[in-house]
Symmetry: C3
Subunit: 222 residues, 3 copies
């Protein structure tokens, strides 16, 4: 516990990089499935990884967005996309034949994606708390959620798909819950608030995947 | 007439709330038809209601957008979406069997939507007139139209549909006409300009619905 | 060569107008193919022409975007869209029967579009060099590319299509190459840097069209 608090900056940075890799991978794989070329794979991967933070920064008027000031995230996404593309290009039958490997890979990706969602959500809250609007719970929580899910929404819009978060699984809800936990606990200390917020998101996502949780929806509509 | 002018602030607020409810309803119903879950229904409803104002504020650099400073509109949209979802969930055969009721409901919605379009268009003009760019007719009219139609465009993009305003009916044109009326009459007094602008939009929309007006388009293209 | 340098402002303005006409045409034709009405044709044409610059300005916090301060570009796009619509409306069999004419027209459009892409890319670089972030190569090159391709991306999102630049042809890559050329040569003089950057984009696009260049992509994915 002390270890987590003393090394928070380093651990958060490592988890941000993990989240960036996971988000970039999901963007790159979406692009591959949509038969985009290597440029499209890179664009979709990078946008998925840094798009949420970019929307967040535009909303609070922080221009240019932090992704341009600290290019390490975009660069990480770029490397991720090209590694994925080259691997799949060399072994293009990987995706179709070795079903077992793909299942393992998808589970791993979902886990990394959950970590990314958790970390990005609380860094969004942290950004909001740095603005003059930190008392505006609605804005701060929104910034957390949009940082977490915004990249995935842009990915789906660019792939001309209905956004994943609006259709399936307890995804944005996990982000919303963690954002609330983090924002409400913030006065007790920013570091434990961020850890508890991120852990909430990750726990809800993993439980939702294991138990196939879904939110209620209406059926048989025209 | 005097009554309209003396109580303008209150009346505009009431009509903004009516517009918010109408826009949130259209977003929520779109989400239901797309089989989104309750979270998606809320997101689409809220974005339809406040998205236009949000784009407007980003364009004039007013950050964070007013929807975060005065959350009453987002809250109204939230309540609307959940009432609609719960009603339809309890009586899920409402949408399919009682055709007559649905027709009445749709007509009512179209009327409320016309009111929302009119009010949002002139509040967009009013926002533009508060900036240092009030003499820029092009910008001011654009702000009116984007405030009126922007939420619906975002709704359609998120639902992966061609934007309604680009495909059908005299919709954005009604907003454009009212925006021009309001902006051109503004020097004669902001209050009558806003009323006449809003009434123009609402009248054109209602006439277009009654007489099935459509703008010219080209047919038999590949 | 001296002529190019001495009259740079005029020549760039003329080429910007050519690019605006080309981009507006591509937006208008997309709208016609999607059976949008005359309003939709205008909206899609204008957004294709000025959308890239608008995103660029929002990212660097220049509000309102320059398209509202200098409406000549939007106006040029407006006139282009209506001329195209009226021509096609009068001779609506043009698009279907006279195949040869259409082929010529499409080749011409692709050439103008290449010019537009080149010019818009380097004006994006030039805008970036005017900000306090001119030393940030990543940001400056991004501003060039987004100015060049952003309008086309918005066009495709609004038409509910997968963005053209992510799917086909060496398009965004041409913009990226020219942006790099222009940004890297900038210290040697802004005017030759802009010319060489724009020429790079145009040359790559034309060669890609002649030789049917495409970037690698993965096939047979599910």
């Amino acid at each position: 516990m002390n270890f987590l608090i003393e090394n928070t900056d380093t651990i958060i940075f490592i988890m941000e990089i993990i989240g960036t890799i996971a988000f970039a991978s999901s963007g790159a794989l979406t692009a591959v499935r949509q038969r985009m070329d290597i440029f499209g794979v890179n664009v979709l991967g990078i946008i998925t990884a840094v798009g949420g933070g970019c929307i967040r920064d535009l909303i609070i008027g922080r221009t240019p967005p932090v992704m341009f000031i600290r290019p390490i995230y975009a660069l990480t996404a770029l490397v991720t996309c090209n590694v994925i593309f080259i691997l799949l290009y060399i072994k293009r039958n990987l995706l179709t034949t070795t079903t077992h490997l793909m299942t393992v890979y998808e589970k791993l990706m979902q886990l990394l994606d959950a970590i990314g969602l958790g970390i990005f959500t609380v860094t969004g809250i942290s950004t909001g708390m740095d603005t003059p609007y930190s008392a505006n719970l609605f804005l701060v929580v929104f910034l957390g959620v949009i940082t977490g899910v915004g990249g995935g929404v842009l990915r789906d819009i660019l792939a001309a798909q209905k956004p994943y978060i609006l259709v399936k699984h307890v995804y944005a809800c996990a982000s919303l819950s963690g954002a609330l936990v983090c924002a409400l606990l913030w006065p007790l200390g920013s570091i434990p608030a961020m850890w508890l917020g991120a852990f909430s998101v990750i726990a809800i996502r993993i439980l939702a995947m294991i138990f196939h949780w879904n939110l209620p929806r209406l059926k048989n509509m025209e």
